[in-house]
């Protein structure tokens, strides 16, 4: 019963994957040593459930390999098939996995992963897993400068970094936005001490505070002790 259901899902997957055009890089996955996804980019459509299965399967394939073996793996069953390869690199706690077809050079992709990681390192200054955890959006923007729609866009690191810095500048010019970056919050409401605010937020209070009616507002502000 169970098996059958999985099978039909696979069939569904196959149908859906044919609808989207095959790309040279089919997916880019970054997950940690425990298989927790840190960045997923699928250049071919899979529904969320399938995506998670693919991540899981890929993790199982990759994680059981020693560090001193080669970085190529021939196809998981879910993603790809005969023409596709998994090319990965393992950095400290993170696996960077690219699922590519035969039009890409294996060693070239390995280089690309290196470029990606080095770029991350430059942008985050000694990148670590936490950077990827908290700034997954930024990582995406960086990745978008390397790979576009499953095709290699740029491999020159200086060029990539210039583009990213330009865009960050643009973002800063546009003023505060306190969602994506913690630092820009400083420019928020009368430069409220960011830590205090986030401490409050972490107490899981926001709902209550938000519920406070407008007339109570000054009191609420007083309580915060600017």
């Amino acid at each position: 019963m169970m098996c059958r259901r999985q099978l039909s899902e696979c069939q569904h997957l196959r149908c859906s994957s044919l609808d989207t055009p095959p790309t040279m890089i089919k997916a880019i996955l970054v997950f940690n040593n425990h298989g927790k996804p840190r960045l997923t980019k699928f250049y071919q459509y899979f529904n969320e459930e399938m995506q998670q299965q693919i991540i899981k399967e890929t993790f199982q394939l990759v994680s059981k390999r020693d560090d001193n073996v080669c970085n190529f793996l021939e196809g998981g069953s879910l993603i790809g098939g005969a023409d596709y390869k998994l090319i990965y690199r393992h950095y400290a706690t993170l696996y960077f996995v690219f699922c590519v077809d035969s039009s890409e050079s294996e060693l070239g992709i390995l280089d690309l992963i290196q470029v990606f990681v080095e770029t991350l390192d430059k942008c985050f200054e000694n990148v670590c897993e936490l950077d990827l955890i908290f700034h997954v959006d930024k990582v995406h923007y960086i990745l978008n400068e390397l790979v576009m729609g499953g095709m290699v866009l740029e491999t020159n690191m200086t060029e990539i970094i210039t583009r990213i810095e330009d865009q960050n500048k643009l973002e800063k010019q546009e003023g505060p936005y306190n969602s994506a970056s913690t630092s820009s919050l400083k420019a928020g409401l009368a430069a409220a001490p960011a830590r205090a605010v986030s401490a409050v937020k972490n107490m899981n209070l926001p709902q209550q505070i938000k519920d406070i009616k407008l007339p109570d507002l000054p009191a609420a502000i007083k309580d915060l002790k600017f």
């Binding site: 459930e49 001193n68 190529f72 576009m148 583009r163 936005y177 409401l189």
Partner: protein, 1253 residues
């Protein structure tokens, strides 16, 4: 007001941002899903707010949750809202989210068209960049069609960043909207020359990917890529190009020959491993495509293998892996060169990396020969003993069997050895390949008659030791399958058993009931065979004791099987019990039944051809779709419905469908049955009910789980006593462990003594013969009735991109532009009684609408879309018609709104063009070939004409026939008027002298030939004298290479007129301001010619030039210096290369269709003409001059009037109308897009025609 603002800000401050969300999830590890669902609720409330910043924040969080596996497609509309924000920060968030969760079927995408267009055209580079990146992820067919033109516009952006992205996006556009390919391709091709390396690389990337999928359409680009390959230093690009060449070479072997040299150079020079590897790969592909005819063929293979060996020996596992991978490609065509590295491959089997071991195994499979098979298998078996992990061990086992059984046991010389190997393999614990071993055993036993007795003996032993094989580990494996084979073999060939009774006992004894059902069934059935055999022999010998003993044994043991849960076992057992009791009864009466009993099992066992089943012709009157029995009633169907759905997921629909089809009456059914029976009776391939045929093995249902586990802990060694050990064969065949070197010496010696086992393959005799008949086939069927299938799946989008790109564009092949598409979109909405949607209005509009309305609208638009899709498929006229019907509001007829299918082809033009483009490629291929050193060395002169190589090969032949023709012509002409004769003679002398100079047909033109040529005018280079002195004569011809590079190719031919060899030829050609030579060494004006000229010899070189302005004629001055052997000083000749404007023209894309289109389009604004009142030349001669000297192509020729066409390297069109009146009055009218070009061209033509006068 201010307070409200403060409140808004405050609320915002307390909204969770992405960081808070992530932190929250990390802090709530135990209750993660609960926490997230709580956050989802918050996000939903946030999304309901007006503030775009809040929405953007919510969408950013959603994007994160999407990564964790939460479906966020419900927020599609909010994502679009955020995408439409004017702020880059929010826009970026929106696009990121969209690229993560949208796909081409996302319905909200159709709302985005105008918004994305706005973003693409934004003045902010990063807005467009973000839009391009996002679009690449979720582009749909509709978006591709609507935005293709905008993407094309970005190709010409001043910012390389955008050009680069637009180029890449084009690939996606093509996939979704194949009609865009042809109109867009020329621009894309231009991008190969983009000044920015990133853009260039992107263009290469896209074209390579297109070409990889449909290589034949891109063959004509080979010269361009070749140029890029030899000039570029960007490794990424090189890799792509080299990979592309790998895909192109199978289509054009000549290309391969050209590639070998630069590729080997790259292999030698590059330090980048990735590039080296790809070069090797492509060289391999080349070598595969040209199986012969390369002089340094072997050298290239050796080079590859050598380099690969270095890779494999590298400590980097990645290189090792790739090396092995590439090696296996060479193996297919050149096994010998790989076999030399057997040691290396075997060494890789010991590698700790499983991927590498598996690769090495693959290699071994192909490296086996008759000589090496035993050693390799032995090695593999020792590996198997050592290997950890059943997966790898199984892989090894499978490979051993594959190696041995390939090509009908091609490499097996000693089958006793092979059977022993198989028996040995049975000892493998926990294998999943029991069925494989079993089928091999049966195969050998049946087909190799010579070792049958041996096999049967081994099988008897196996049966005897069944408990060892089906040990405690057997539960997880399928090893019990071998018992199936053993039982069957022993039963079938029971006459060969040494001790049938003992075997029968071992079959009956012990754990048989614990085996899977199908094996038990075989056991039971073969017991009967054995029994029959024993009875028959015992009766002959009058051994009544034996008979009684055996009968009792069976009667005692069989009841166990009679009560078996397995239907097959039970049925067979009860049948046999009755047979045995019957036999017992007969014996009591003293009757002999042995012979009769044996009859039950007789029958010859022949192999059946693999495709025999498929080839059995369908007998007349047999309807496979008809019901054999009455279809089950309606109620039953319903009852079984639930069950059926589960078991036969797809059976349901076809089931009902079939029912409607045909319901034969009872009478018909009876008739059919009778007919079938009659058929069967006459069909020799049908298993008849009268004779019991031997059971065929059935391996496909190995159900491991079903094997009941009864663990016995036996301290028995796994060695089965009495089984032949493999070592025996090793000694017999001279293979010994270790001491390989010594061993080789022995081998040599033994070779001289003429022993069987060593030396070359041919000397190895097969000890046993395999029955390798193709097997039985139905009458009239042939094995080879196979047809090729396109292996691409039907809906592979690349199928649609199989489009001829060389064919000129017709005017209706344009990208849909914004103007008419907007009208279209508007109508769509109007027809739905919806207000017009402007991107900025979307949020407001949608908010006021309730969900129901939204749904309705979706459905409506869906409908319209569907109809649109239908429309798209039809030709444009129909499309307009249908649109008229759909939309009563439509007032004006919009022409060519629907792009005409790209494969709309003007038959004649297409054929012509194909010819032309192939000519072009041929030219390029042949010219480069003649440049390769070996062809220069062999002393023969190669043709410079753009004729196909076949014609150049046949040079001497054609020349002979030509001179014959000329002689004939001469004879004929001799009878003509004297004055004409004189002229003709002159011409002939000229021709002959040129022939001596090996001008070849290009110049040796005779009037008769011109007339022949008129039918298919081919542009050929027209040689002009460059310089001449007493020692050397130099002629040159020019040809426009109408590729992307806009080059002019100059062939300079040096003809020795000296009696001594000429050497050290040096050309000095400084660039002029407008004309530049493409040099290998850009610093030097010198061109050293690497060869010397022997007396009477002629050689040529080719130079490429680029011109900045092609509308004016150019000149280039230079000099040639050379040394004549014997003289100490060098001689100099000054040269003057002339490039009249016609040099820059080529007529190859001429077709009548484009020509008339051009003329009617009004593009040709410039006009000019001249007349020659007293032209002494005949009309064909004039035409010849224009086509050869003027590089124009004849488009149409009626009587004495012709129209010609030429296109300059920079895309200017030149059209000429040539009228020739009876009184030698020649008028040439010209039209062109470029006035200066036209007047210069006409001037040049006029002077040349005058000169001829």
């Amino acid at each position: 007001m201010a307070l409200r603002k403060v409140k808004g800000n405050l609320e915002r401050m307390f909204d969770k941002n992405l960081t808070d969300l992530v932190r929250g999830i990390r802090n709530n590890k135990e209750t993660e899903s609960k926490y997230i669902s709580q956050c989802m609720e918050e996000i939903k409330t946030e999304l309901r707010q007006d503030n775009l910043a809040v929405k953007a924040n919510a969408v950013a969080k959603l994007t994160y949750l999407q990564m964790l596996g939460y479906d966020i497609s419900w927020a599609g509309f909010n994502i679009i809202e955020v995408m439409s924000s004017p702020k880059f920060t929010y826009k970026r968030i929106g696009y990121l989210s969209a690229s993560q969760c949208f796909h081409q079927d996302t319905e909200v995408l159709m709302l985005t068209t105008n918004m994305i267009r706005k973003d693409l055209n934004s003045h902010n580079m990063y807005d467009s960049g973000t839009a391009l990146t996002g679009l690449a992820c979720f582009i749909s067919g509709d978006l591709a069609r609507d935005l293709a033109n905008d993407v094309m516009t970005l190709l010409t952006s001043t910012k390389p960043y955008l050009r680069k992205k637009a180029v890449l996006l084009l690939y996606k556009v093509f996939l979704k909207f194949p009609e865009a390919l042809r109109p867009a391709f020329p621009r894309l091709k231009e991008k190969l020359e983009d000044p920015d390396p990133g853009v260039q690389s992107a263009a290469v990337n896209v074209i390579c990917e297109l070409a990889r999928k449909n290589p034949k359409n891109y063959l004509s680009l080979a010269p361009v890529f070749f140029k890029l390959m030899t000039s570029s230093t960007n490794n990424w690009m090189l890799i792509k190009i080299i990979k592309l060449f790998g895909a192109l070479t199978p289509l054009e072997p000549r290309l391969g020959k050209k590639l070998i040299e630069p590729l080997t150079n790259l292999i030698h020079s590059t330090s980048a491993m990735s590039l080296l590897y790809e070069c090797i790969n492509t060289v391999i592909a080349v070598l595969i495509s040209i199986s012969s005819g390369m002089p340094n063929h072997n050298a290239s293979i050796q080079l590859c293998v050598q380099k690969l060996r270095i890779l494999i020996e590298d400590s980097d596992q990645n290189l090792k892996y790739l090396g092995l991978l590439a090696m296996s490609k060479i193996l297919k065509t050149h096994p010998k060169s790989v076999q030399a590295h057997k040691d290396l491959v075997l060494q890789c089997l010991d590698d700790k990396d499983e991927s590498i071991r598996l690769r090495a195994l693959d290699l071994l499979y192909g490296m086996v020969t008759k000589k090496t098979v035993m050693e390799i298998v032995r090695r593999l078996m020792t590996h198997m003993d050592r290997a950890e992990g059943t997966m790898y061990r199984d892989e090894l086992l499978q490979k051993i069997i594959l190696i041995c059984s390939q090509n009908n046991f091609q490499y097996i010389t000693n089958f006793e050895w092979y059977v022993s190997v198989l028996v040995e393999l049975c000892r493998m614990e926990g294998t999943q390949h029991g069925g494989l071993i079993a089928s091999q055993l049966m195969d050998v036993a049946i087909r190799v008659v010579a070792v049958r007795e041996f096999t049967v003996g081994q099988m008897a032993l196996l049966l005897d030791n069944a408990h060892v094989i089906v040990g405690p580990a057997a539960a997880r494996s399928s090893i019990a399958e071998v018992l199936y084979a053993a039982a069957w073999i022993c039963g079938e060939f029971s006459q060969l058993l040494a001790n049938p009774k003992a075997t029968l006992e071992s079959m009956v004894r012990g754990k048989v009931v614990s085996l899977p059902g199908h094996i038990q069934a075989i056991y039971v059935h073969n017991m009967l065979k054995l029994y029959a055999h024993i009875i028959a022999t015992a009766e002959e010998e009058d051994d009544s004791e034996m008979i009684e003993e055996v009968t009792n044994l069976l009667l005692e043991r069989l009841p166990v099987f009679v009560s078996s849960g397995d239907l097959e076992v039970q049925e067979r057992a009860s049948c046999i019990v009755h047979i045995v009791t019957y036999v017992q009864k007969c014996h009591k009466h003293g009757d002999k039944v042995g012979a009769d009993l044996a009859l039950l099992m007789t029958g010859e066992l022949n192999p059946v051809a693999p495709k025999a089943q498929k080839k059995v012709p369908l007998p007349d009157g047999l309807d496979l779709d008809a019901w054999i029995n009455d279809p089950p009633s309606e109620s039953e169907e319903e009852e079984d419905d639930a069950l059926e759905k589960e078991i036969f997921v797809k059976a349901d629909s076809s089931y009902k469908h079939r029912k409607e089809k045909y319901e034969p009456s009872e009478e018909e059914l009876q008739k059919l049955r009778d007919a079938r029976r009659a058929e069967q009776a006459s069909n020799p391939y049908y298993v008849k009910s009268s004779a019991l045929s031997s059971p065929r093995p059935n391996h496909n249902s190995i159900q491991v789980d079903e094997i009941p586990v009864t663990a016995i802990d036996l301290n028995v060694s796994l060695k089965i006593p009495g089984m032949t050990s493999l070592d025996k064969y090793q000694v017999v065949d001279g293979w010994q462990d270790g001491g390989k070197k010594r061993h080789k010496k022995q081998k040599k010696r033994s070779k001289r003594k003429g022993q069987v086992s060593s030396s070359s393959e041919e000397e190895i005799n097969r000890m046993h013969v395999v029955n390798t008949d193709i097997g039985e086939m139905p009458e009239g069927a042939h094995l080879s009735d196979d047809y090729e299938i396109d292996d691409r799946p039907e809906d592979d989008p690349h199928r649609a991109l199989d489009i001829n790109l060389d064919e000129p564009l017709s005017p209706n092949e344009v990208l849909p532009t914004r103007t008419h598409y907007e009208a279209h979109a508007q109508r769509k909405i109007e027809s739905n009684n919806e207000a017009k949607l402007i991107p900025s209005e979307i949020p407001l509009k949608m908010k006021t609408r309730n969900k129901k309305e939204r749904k309705e609208k979706k459905e409506k638009t869906k409908k319209v879309k569907k109809e649109e899709k239908k429309v798209k498929k039809k030709p444009s006229r129909d499309a307009n018609l249908i649109l008229d019907l759909i939309d009563p509001l439509k007032e004006t007829v919009i022409s060519d709104k629907v792009p005409v299918a790209a494969n709309h082809i003007n038959g004649i033009a297409d054929a012509k063009n194909k010819e032309k483009t192939s000519d072009d490629l041929d030219f390029w291929l042949s010219k480069e070939l003649s440049q390769t050193p070996e062809s220069c060395m062999d002393g023969t002169t190669k043709t410079a004409s753009p004729s196909t190589p076949s014609s150049s090969k046949d040079d001497s032949k054609s020349k002979k026939t030509k001179t014959k023709k000329e002689k004939k012509a001469k004879k004929e002409k001799d009878r003509d008027k004297p004055e004409k004769k004189l002229k003709k003679n002159e011409k002939e002398i000229d021709t002959l002298s040129r022939n001596r100079d090996e001008y070849e047909e290009t110049n040796g033109t005779v009037t008769q030939e011109v007339e022949e040529k008129l039918a298919v005018p081919e542009p050929q280079p027209y040689s002009r004298l460059l310089a001449e002195d007493s020692h050397i004569r130099i002629v040159y011809s020019t040809a426009a290479m109408d590729g992307v590079m806009s080059e002019i190719l100059v062939c300079i031919k040096f003809i020795s007129q000296s009696s001594k060899p000429i050497s050290k030829l040096q050309l000095i050609l400084p660039d002029s301001s407008a004309l530049k030579m493409i040099r290998t060494d850009p610093q030097s004006e010198l061109v050293n010619l690497p060869w010397s000229l022997d007396p009477g010899e002629s050689k040529e070189t080719q130079l490429s030039f680029t011109a900045e302005d092609v509308t004016i004629p150019h000149k280039l001055r230079g000099s040639l210096s050379y040394i004549q052997d014997g003289s100490s000083s060098s001689s100099d000749i000054s040269l003057r290369l002339e490039f009249p404007v016609t040099t820059f023209l080529s007529g190859k894309t001429a077709s009548r269709a484009t020509f008339t289109d051009l003329l009617s389009s009004g593009q040709l604004s410039a006009r000019s003409s001249f007349t020659l009142p007293n032209c002494p030349w005949s009309f064909p001669e004039v035409l010849e001059e224009l086509t050869l000297g003027g590089s124009l192509a004849v488009v149409e020729c009626v009587d004495q009037t012709a129209s010609l066409y030429g296109r300059s390297l920079h895309g200017h069109h030149v059209c000429l109308l040539v009228k020739y009146q009876a009184s030698h009055h020649l008028t040439i009218d010209g039209k062109s897009t470029e006035g200066i070009l036209l007047s210069n061209a006409l001037d040049h033509l006029k002077t040349t025609l005058m000169q001829k006068q």
